[in-house]
Every structure is written in C-alpha cells, then in structure tokens.
Subunit: 430 residues, 2 copies
Amino acid sequence: MMRTRPLKVALLGCGVVGSEVARIMTTHADDLAARIGAPVELAGVAVRRPDKVREGIAPELITTDATALVKRGDVDVVVEVIGGVEPARTLITTAFEHGASVVSANKALLAQDGATLYEAAARHGQDLYYEAAVAGAIPLIRPLRESLAGDKINRVMGIVNGTTNFILDKMDTSGAGYSEALDEATALGYAEADPTADVEGFDAAAKAAILAGIAFHTRVRLDDVYREGMTEVTAADFASAKEMGCTIKLLAICERAADGGSVTARVHPAMIPLSHPLASVREAYNAVFVEAEAAGRLMFYGPGAGGSPTASAVLGDLVAVCRNKLNEANGPGESAYTQLPVSSMGEVVTRYHISLDVADKPGVLAQVATVFAEHGVSIDTVRQQGKDGEASLVVVTHRAPDAALSGTVEALRKLDTVRGVASIMRVEGE
Amino acid sequence: MMRTRPLKVALLGCGVVGSEVARIMTTHADDLAARIGAPVELAGVAVRRPDKVREGIAPELITTDATALVKRGDVDVVVEVIGGVEPARTLITTAFEHGASVVSANKALLAQDGATLYEAAARHGQDLYYEAAVAGAIPLIRPLRESLAGDKINRVMGIVNGTTNFILDKMDTSGAGYSEALDEATALGYAEADPTADVEGFDAAAKAAILAGIAFHTRVRLDDVYREGMTEVTAADFASAKEMGCTIKLLAICERAADGGSVTARVHPAMIPLSHPLASVREAYNAVFVEAEAAGRLMFYGPGAGGSPTASAVLGDLVAVCRNKLNEANGPGESAYTQLPVSSMGEVVTRYHISLDVADKPGVLAQVATVFAEHGVSIDTVRQQGKDGEASLVVVTHRAPDAALSGTVEALRKLDTVRGVASIMRVEGE
C-alpha cells in the first residue's frame, strides 16, 4: 500500500497553530505515514515575516508568495491557518483549481462564504475539511456530519468561545464584575488586547453559523445568526441566576423549529440550570451539547482553542484528506439539501428572566402582570423585594416567542410604575 | 450524482436495535438518500422468529436463512445486530466474500476476534464499521480513529456500561447497598435478569479492548484486559470515597505506559474526584475521557445503550459505508502498526485507597507503614479511627505499580495486628 511518492503539503500561515502543525508533521512523521499509507512532507510554508527564525522548518521552504505556493501544481493538500476572509478565500479557491484539497481552520471565512468554497471544492473534485474552525480540538464537525448522518439533529447548544467562558466562570466563582474578570483574562492571555470579537459574540456567531448549516443540512450564513455579547452581564445577574439554581453562559444555540419548517441560530448570554452538563464547563474549556432524534442527548467537551489543540484538529483532517487523495475519493461535501429557511430571532421560543425596578406601591404587580398577559407571555414565577420606596420585581416566564417578549418589555418601559428594566436574560437548557 | 439503482442493505437481527434501524430507514428514507447520494433499501431481514409481526417491514423481506441472505450477491451492505461470536463471525466474513461491506454493533465479537474481521474486510476490499459497538450513540470510534488520527492518544478512560453506572449512581445518591440498587436497576429495565456481563465487567472489558486497539494502533484482545466487577462495592466504600472528595465509578482505562513502550487496558471500580468530569455522569449515561498529546483532555458524553441511540450509530455508519460504496473507496481499516505489547495489570501504576481493620494498640501504624515501605509503596495519607479495642486504618498511597500494592496487601494480611483488609480501591483521575 505504501506509495513511494510522498504527499506534499503547503502550509499557509506559521503562527501559533501553523508552527505546531509543522512541528508535529516533523516529529510524528512516521506515525502520520503509517496512518495515511504514504509519507507526507512540507512542500512550502507561506509566511508574512520570512526573517523570523522558525525552528524545525528548513529555511528553503519559507516563502512570502502564498499564491505561487498554491499554484505550484505539485501540492496535494493546502493547510490554511492564516484566518480572515481575504486573501484566504482566493488562496483556497486557487488551491482547488490547482488540484489540491484544503484543510482550513478559518471560521470567519467558512461562516461568511462557506457555500462558495464548497462549490469550488466540488467543481474541482477536491476536499474541504475544517474541524479546527469550531471548538478547537473537540471532534465536532466530523461527528455532526458523519457520525450523526443517519439521525435528525434538533438542537445544537454550546459554549464555543473560551475567552468569554473564562470571564463568566471568573464572575461566577469570585463574584467579580465584568471589567475585573476581563482584566484577569487579558493578563493570563485568555483575552486579546482588543477582545471585541470574543466578548461581543462575533466569534461564537461564526461558529454557530457553521454548526447550524451542518446540523440541519441547510445554508446558514453569519448574517443569519442573532448575536448579543456578554459585556452587560453583571454580578447582580449572577446573583439572580444563583437564586434560580442557574449559572450564566454565553451560548451558541442552533435549533430546528417545532414544526420542522425552519431553523434558527443565535448567540447570547443565558441562564442554564446548574444540573445541565454545560453549567459545569469551567475556565476556557468549550463544550457542545447535541440533541438528536434517535441518539438523544450527547455532549462533546474539550479545549476550544490554543496552538496544540487546534493543530490536533488540523492534523486529523490532514490524515483524512491525504487518505482520500490516495483512494482517489472525496469526503462528504456540502449537504444543504433541506434548504430550510433561517427564521429571525423574533420566532425563537424560549424562557426569560426579567428584573424590573418598580415603585413600591400596591397594584404594581397587577399592572406588570397585565402587560405580560396582553402580549401572550405566560408568567411562571414572580419574586418581589422592596427597599426604600423602591422595589425590584423578578419575573420568570414560561416559553414564549422572542418577539412577544420584546413587545412586553417595550410596553413595560412605558409604565409609570416601572422605573427601569434592570436585566433581561433568556433561560435555556431545561 | 443520484444513482438509479438503490443500495441494498441486509439486516441481520431485528430486535430492539434492528427494528429501530429498519424503522428509521423507512421513515427517513429521503434524508438518507440525500446524504448518501443514492437511495438505500432493505434487501432482507434475517430473524429467528419469522412469525412475529414486524411493523413497517414487508413480510416478503423476512427470512430465517441469514446465510443465504448474505450470499445473495446483490447486497451492498450487511448490518449485523445479532450479537455474540457465532454465527455473527461467519456471517460477516461470508458477507465480505460476497461483496458486501459490514456495519456491526457486535462488541463481543470485535473484542475477541476483530483482527480476523479486519483482515477479511481488507482482503475483499470491503468496509467494517462498528461505532455502535462502544458507548451506543456517542461518537467515539470515528473521533478516535479519524479526528485524532494526527495526534498521539495517551489515555482513554470511560464509563462505558450504563447498567453499572446506574447502580453505582443509586448507591452514591441514596446510600443503598449493591443488592438494593441492583434490584432497582432490574425493576426499571436497566439490568438484565442475569446481570453478570454488566456487573462483572465483561461488557466494559470488551469495549476497553476495542478502544485500546484503536487509540494505540495496536491489537488488544479481550484476554488482554484486566477485569474486576463492581459487585463488592459497599455503602462503606462510598462513605470512604465521600471523605476523599470522590465518588466511585466502574471505569474502563486504556493507557500508554510512561515510557511509551507498552499499553494496558483494565476495567475495575475506582474512586475519582468529584471535580473530574466523569464524576458527574449520572444514571445510565456513558462518557469517555480522552487525553491526547496535542488535543489535551476531551470528553464524549451520551446515552450508552438503548434501541434508538444504538440505531443512530448504526445508521451513521451505514451512510458512511454507502458513500464509500458509491465512491468505490474504503474507510480506514485496522491500524495496528505500532504493535505495542499489552502489559499485565501488575505493571499499571496508579494510587490506592486501602481500608484495614486493625487492633487498637500502640505500634500498629508503625508496623503497617513498614510493610508499605518494604514494598516500595509510598503513603500519601493515613487516617486512624478507634472503636472498642478495634480500629480502622485508611491508607491512601502515592502512585505505585499494581504488583507492589498486591505484594503489600499480601504481607499486611499476615500481620497479627491486621484483623482484615476491608477494601482496596484504586484512585483515578487526579
């Protein structure tokens, strides 16, 4: 079975992930060869800074001309770990045109324009694998699109951003506020200097788009994903969550509507019961909970980022893609046959925890309850606490459409007796 | 892409799992066709009792002659869900000889004679998939042999038997003894009338053999797996575990030796810290914890048994195998290239919790400590409790080879001051 000619791999990007991929390809070359059925070798490494010393990589492999590298024609697989939309997209499609399959870790590109890449891969008979794009080393793309290929997935709900989970976990365990917890995350290297992509949920939203598309066999783009960050979560919210027997997590949730005719994808902070497996995901770990018709409830847990874990996912894909090359076959391509439309956030049905600052006088609860009733939002529990002429009212609702809740809140804000809406948080996982 | 000729599937066995496979193949035929790229149809269903009414299966498909069914020659894939070594093994090898790939859920057969099946599949250019053989619907075989194909797995540790986890969970939460908890499991249908295969660890040992072989790319047979059941775990053991901040689980543990030159596989009850993700796996759920060099610590969680979950795993494999048929390709076969030997239990290095009943007089602790020292087993903590001239001594050791611990215990039993060894339990997951 062992071919004489090695499979040639071009590496685009040699940062934290790329250098680890190169290192493992060298140190574990014999294992990779045995598992693939042929040796693999680095054909070239495209970098921005060619002068940087790169241990273990022969200097003659380094190039700044990524385009020339993917056009060489003798490359079997291109590993893209540069990230961002361009030039990555053009490099990937060029790779397909020149006979290479692609392994990518590029969630932003896949979420925004996955269909174009899939189409280009199919047209040129090449593979596009991207396990590393979602939840680092956690096998998730392959289980969803292969292991569960004979099942019907109804919900994917996960913690897919380690930075925000680290911050929320700190807030939960230490009682710290958001800023303080963010500072700690930054100091420890869990948050970037500009944490916007993480804390505003952009990173998680890209992953939600990818997961929803695969889970429901339809196309879900980044713009289809409702997104709310977690910068406004307060210590008071955690205190409220504790009273409910919950904690707060930034969740990516992809759901099939009850009637099966549409899907939704969203990212926002939410309360989840402490008894839910996702509640005990600590620090920067990721975990994804999957509900399927036949399989039931599954969870996948592990490190969601970092050079080594991401490299593990890239190399798993590399082995699969190389095996496909040897077999002259292709792995599963895009599966979007259901063409299910993506509904807006207003159609999502869930539960809500609403904290109101109200006047401490008779009749306020009746007024508030009437507003909920008028909007068709059924109340589960109410808790009222008075202090100095002011009172707080905590309302937890039964399941209701998000649009109905929004209407309720808008009407509540207009009540004279409601001084303010302190927080609104969705309650998931029950 | 859609072929006109449907792929033909022969189903061997139509019990809890088989009937669910047949049902989903019918009700979800369109989805399966879209995901495979061609329709699949049942070519025949081999059963023992042909007179039983089988809803949704055309009577003319039913046969009692499984051998004739797999020899028909027009069958693309054989799904084997009858279990046991024979006639399953002969039917599977006959299927390969007649041009069919095989999807099996047969852990006993794969653990005992996987190499023969792999070899037969390879010789005839057919696939052998068996995700359903370990941990039901939890994607585990595919993540281990594909997602982590570019990584080095050092340890697989899991709860792979739902019956025993249900019993241990009951004992933990209710304080019940083993017999009482077993009775409840039997009444609820979690334990079979003869629970031996579960409670004595035979079922878990078969799964450990399969997981170890895949994780370490070597051959591990059922006979290579050290096995201890959980029938002797007592309420007192759970009380001891609680004092240690632990609970007790029946674990399947596959490890690479520290020097990398050998592997071990074992099944036994063990204490694990409550903070370990496996500690919170409740009821009949399964979970498997994987430690890999680059990926770090991963966990896979879900229902480990049951008709629907197992059918989900079978159908995921069926989609993959059918896709391979269309591509005229094969999935990954056996990978046993490392040829790592399997060491015996004596060479396993772990920690121990030992409860001794001793005479309550001066010098006993010194005597006991001397025995540990003579056998090279270093003590971490000792707790001594006296009552009525008797005392109990609880010793928790540092990591030591199992053989050294056995020698220690043998010597302890010979001491006049040691009235009895109340329990010995390994401590894992720290």
